[in-house]
């Protein structure tokens, strides 16, 4: 069964204190791994898509990396405005070699950054 596990569930950081969020996955034929940011009362906001092991992508203070079993979202010198829930999701392949289409989400990591 395809599965996504995120850790930790919650993370409290001081402003400027760098850290990493983990997303481990078990999926039959990874088509893509996605990171989203979700603010309270809003829909997920797209951050990154990673497709193959070794791939890295950066955006401002965020950097996402991918291995064959997990992905990390590194946050460098976070600011209070980075406080949000960060969701990881995977798109699995299907038995016919195509895509299953939908995303499978982890439960998210709630990040709080204190000034």
């Amino acid at each position: 069964e395809d599965q996504v596990t995120q850790s930790p569930e919650a993370l409290r950081l001081q402003e400027g204190e760098s850290s990493s969020l983990n997303c481990s996955y078990t999926v039959s034929g990874l088509r893509g791994l996605f990171w989203y940011r979700q603010d309270p009362g809003k829909g997920p906001e797209f951050l990154f898509t990673l497709y193959s092991a070794g791939e890295e992508k950066e955006k401002e203070r965020l950097k996402a990396t991918l291995t064959k079993k997990e992905s990390f979202l590194h946050i460098t010198a976070p600011k209070p405005e980075d406080s949000a829930t960060y969701l990881c999701a995977v798109q699995a392949g299907s038995s016919d070699g195509g895509s299953q289409g939908n995303l499978i989400f982890g439960k998210g990591t709630k990040l709080s950054v204190k000034p």
Binding site: G41, K42, G43, F46, L103, I104
Partner: protein, 113 residues
């Protein structure tokens, strides 16, 4: 990337009634998805809606409870029928616009009293 307008943004409904949630995409998309996000939980897929065919429902979700329409490539609706307090949740639509990936609407926060 596609932009999705979802409405209503929130509603408070009486048990036993139905609510229809609408999602409008600013470009044509093949696949649209409906998710439920219960308090403190992640997103759970309800169904996949492709234009011109019946929606495909995930285990635990049935068409009589969550009927979906997909009349064209830019629009879809989800109805939550015969609501009970257990249906209180955030409902999200999503679209795959191919090259960009998956975009989400802003969500509908439903409270059933």
């Amino acid at each position: 990337s596609a932009v999705i307008s979802q409405k209503p943004s929130r509603d408070i409904c009486q048990r036993g009634t139905s609510l229809t949630i609408q999602c409008q995409v600013d470009s044509q998309v093949t696949m649209m998805f409906w998710y439920r996000q219960q308090p403190g939980q992640s997103l759970t897929l309800i169904a996949t809606a492709n234009q011109g065919s019946e929606a495909t429902y995930e285990s635990g979700f049935v068409i009589d409870k969550f009927p979906i329409s997909r009349p064209n490539l830019t629009f879809s609706t989800l109805t939550v029928s015969n609501m009970s307090p257990e249906d209180s949740s955030i409902y999200l639509c999503s679209a795959n616009d191919g090259s960009y990936g998956y975009t989400f609407g802003s969500g509908t926060r439903l409270t059933v009293v």
